[in-house]
């Protein structure tokens, strides 16, 4: 049975807000639209066919970029995940595309035989295989949806810069709050333990605060400072970047609140290791790190990081006990 052409109400301001919240892991996790064939404007048999994921933000981004044009939008079922991620997992993949082209009866809706995919969809889709199985030729459009109109107007030819993935400051700073919030969960556990320990031994809330702020700073160093200053922090390794910024922070802590050698040693061993670990985690959000590269970093730095953190924690606890 051929599925009917779908329509969707225009995106609202509320949609945009929910989008931002969902990016930060707040609110409802998956934010999807129904997979299938949509008509934007009033597409005829010669209108281009764009393919996207059934992640609401991807869907709305295409609609926004292509406002005022007539075209078909083929939405694949990626369980509400964006194109790049879904392509990596294979849900934005060859099989799903082939099945969807058939189930919506695309061959009868359009006269041409061209599917335009986001370039990053190529991670999951083998264009030549789709052509073999459906008769539709796959053309990879630009990486960023904002360049789509220009791509179409140039006769589906991409300028070299349309083909490149970037990682601008704005994007890095968009991701930083999420990294920070995720790290705060671990910090909360630490705070809970530290509270039991400090208050249990008759310490005050200000004792607790003075134990907590150096660590909180190292969390900020790894999740906000390193992402923000990514190109300018020395070293290519994310772990080393984090370690360096964390070391600067630990140096500041020791200078601002001198409290003896053991304390200083503890801070200098623990704080940079925490920042290094968190910065290493930012590889997941970056757009240019490779799996073998991250493996190499883990192989080189995971053990020293853990040892340094452990030694630092022991020194700090000793400092606390002896006081």
């Amino acid at each position: 049975m051929i599925e009917p052409v779908l329509t969707a109400p225009p995106p609202t301001g509320w949609d945009a807000l929910r989008g931002v919240l969902s990016r930060w892991g707040l609110g409802r996790n998956r934010y999807r639209v129904k997979p299938g064939l949509y008509g934007l404007g009033s597409p005829g048999p010669d209108a281009p066919v764009l393919v996207t994921a059934n992640y609401k933000l991807s869907f709305d981004a295409v609609r926004r970029a292509m406002a005022g044009r007539d075209l078909w939008l083929l939405v694949l079922d990626t369980v509400g995940i964006n194109v790049w991620c879904a392509a990596g997992k294979g849900t934005f993949g060859t099989d799903e595309l082939v099945i969807r082209v058939r189930s919506v009866g695309l061959g009868d809706k359009v006269r041409h035989r061209v599917l335009i995919l986001p370039q990053l969809g190529a991670v999951g889709v083998a264009g030549f295989e789709v052509a073999k199985r459906t008769g539709f030729k796959v053309v990879y459009g630009p990486v960023r949806v904002e360049a789509l109109p220009a791509f179409l107007d140039r006769g589906m030819k991409a300028l070299p810069e349309m083909r490149r993935v970037a990682f601008p400051l704005s994007e890095r700073l968009m991701l930083a709050p999420l990294e920070f919030l995720q790290a705060l969960r671990y910090f909360a556990v630490f705070l809970g333990l530290a509270a039991v320990w400090t208050l249990g031994r008759g310490g005050s809330a200000s004792d607790l605060a003075s134990a907590a702020w150096p660590l909180l700073g190292s969390v900020v160093a790894g999740t906000v400072v390193v992402p923000g200053l990514l190109p300018w922090v020395p070293f290519r390794s994310f772990a080393l970047k984090g370690w360096l910024v964390g070391l600067a922070w630990a140096g500041f802590v020791c200078w601002a609140k001198p409290a003896g050698l053991r304390m200083a040693g503890g801070q200098l061993l623990l704080l940079p290791a925490v920042s290094a670990f968190l910065a290493l985690n930012f590889t997941g959000a970056s757009t240019f790190t490779s799996q073998n590269g991250v493996n190499r970093e883990i192989g080189l730095f995971a053990r020293p990081m853990a040892a340094s953190a452990l030694a630092g924690a022991v020194l700090l606890i000793l400092h606390g006990v002896r006081r």
Binding site: I81, Q119, R164, L175, P231, Q291
Partner: protein, 104 residues
């Protein structure tokens, strides 16, 4: 460099291999690569910037001549840590669509 100065990852780790004999010079790899790793001249592809490769696998998946090989995966520390714990393949948490990770 498209990413801008400073946004380069570790050198000499990428697993990308090109079988120059098999290559037909179709240019698909140039089209799909998000980091401009390839060049085409005299109807053959060449790897001009190996260290820019993020091992996404788009080129090898789309090479009709099967001339490209790369161990595709996610460059995501959390995913790799998780796989060490679970013994499964590295898979980032982005399935929960948090926009973070390999994929935002």
């Amino acid at each position: 460099m498209s990413l801008g100065p400073g946004l380069r990852y570790l050198p000499a780790v990428a697993s990308l291999k090109l079988d120059i004999e098999a290559c037909t010079g179709c240019g698909t790899c140039v089209e799909v690569c998000p980091h401009a790793v390839f060049d085409i001249s005299d109807r053959k592809a060449s790897i001009k910037d190996l260290d820019a490769c993020m091992e996404c696998g788009a080129c090898s998946r789309n090479c009709p001549a099967r001339a490209l090989a790369v161990s595709a995966g996610v460059g995501c520390a959390q995913a790799i840590f998780n796989s060490m714990l679970t013994g499964g393949p590295p898979d980032c948490g982005c399935g929960s669509d948090q926009g973070s990770s390999c994929c935002s």
